[in-house]
């Protein structure tokens, strides 16, 4: 019986990746998109399920003359202080939200066209063996300067 219980648990977790997108999409629409304000949504939703200690990397090109709004949100089952950092293509830091009290919104007036890298990381806070997991989303908005 124990064997089948384990199998059942495995089935549930096995299916999780297939349902993540829909779950994180809903989270993005409810929690991140309202923060766009008068910015126009740009690109795609970069939404995915992450565990503590994991991170995502987003490559993006910013165009001169556009103001970008970066919105990074983590679902309530994740630690509060989601870190996000923007670096230029050579690795020089442009923004680190740790320095701004872990803000989830950052506006950037782009004065030169450039490629950037955005790192979003879920910090490790729980001491238990089971790390917390939840949705992380990065949304970008645009506005003409």
């Amino acid at each position: 019986m124990k064997k089948y219980l384990l199998l059942f648990v495995f089935m549930i977790f096995g299916f999780l990746p297939l349902t993540v997108n829909a779950q994180c999409k809903e989270f993005t629409e409810n929690e991140a998109l309202p923060l766009l304000g008068d910015f126009i949504l740009s690109g795609r939703y970069n939404a995915v399920k992450l565990y503590e200690g994991e991170e995502i990397l987003v490559f993006k090109t910013l165009s001169k003359g556009i103001t970008y709004r970066f919105i990074v949100k983590g679902s309530s089952d994740l630690p509060k202080n989601i870190e996000f950092e923007v670096r230029d293509w050579n690795g020089n830091p442009i923004f680190l939200n740790k320095d701004k009290n872990y803000t989830s919104v950052w506006d950037y007036n782009c004065d030169k066209t450039q490629r950037i890298k955005v790192f979003v990381k879920v910090p490790v806070v729980s001491k238990s063996k089971e790390p917390q997991s939840g949705c992380i989303t990065l949304v970008t908005g645009i506005k003409k300067i």
Binding site: Y4, L7, L41, R44, L57, V58, F59, F119
Partner: protein, 279 residues
Amino acid sequence: MKVKHLLKVVGILIFTGTLFFSCNITNNEKSGKNDTVDSLGVQSDLAYEKAKVIFYSLPSPVETALLLEGSGITFNEEFLNPASKLSKYNTSRDLALNMGVYGADLSFCSLFEQNQKAIHYMAVIKEISEELNIINSINDSLINLLQENMNDKNKVLSILSETFVKSNTYLEENDRNEIAALIIAGGWIEGLYISSNIIGKDIKGNADLVEVVIGQGFTLEDLLGLLEMFIQNQDVKIVYDQLKQLKVEFDLLQTDQVTEKQFNIFVSKVNKVRNSFTL
């Protein structure tokens, strides 16, 4: 006994599926392994190995259109892909590429408040989305919403942008990333085609626009990165190879003084790729 057997089979299938999902993520990580960057908070050159997922965030056609705003250019229908060509597009590749192309044309019309033309292009895009079985993102209520807001340019651009993103998300959710990538490629080439042709021969007088065009070379690198993830698909491979050739042309433009001759050669290469997409 049969139930036990069934459970075992289902278990094995799920296990295999989970492994496959994980492999995709691992491949994504490996794709950028040669580059060196510092990771978050920790000085390290192994950021890509730590990143669970790598995304390429490509601009929607609306963003490309927005770059042209304020550059002093005027609306020119000559550079748009005629809606009448829709009947030529019969394969998934042609439909997807031209959904992107028409998306950029629609954004261009909206930017210049060519409302009737914009509605017309939206109807064409709706037709393509039905052919491609992209459900719910583009429907009659969306077209009505656009008509109701036609006097508010920003609102229209915002609606369009959300529509592109939602279509893209729908395709990704349904494991049709290749189609999503082709739509993005179509939108990108049309934006480049319009902006580079609008400049014409007046390179000096349109210096800002030339800069916008050259800047698209960075976006091309992101686009190639995105397409590379699905390169095993033959349609993606064909498009990737064509766009890769343009990368060489962009590299030739990376000089302080772009001459008229250089720019004209570049534009002719862009036109060649774009026209091969629009047939």
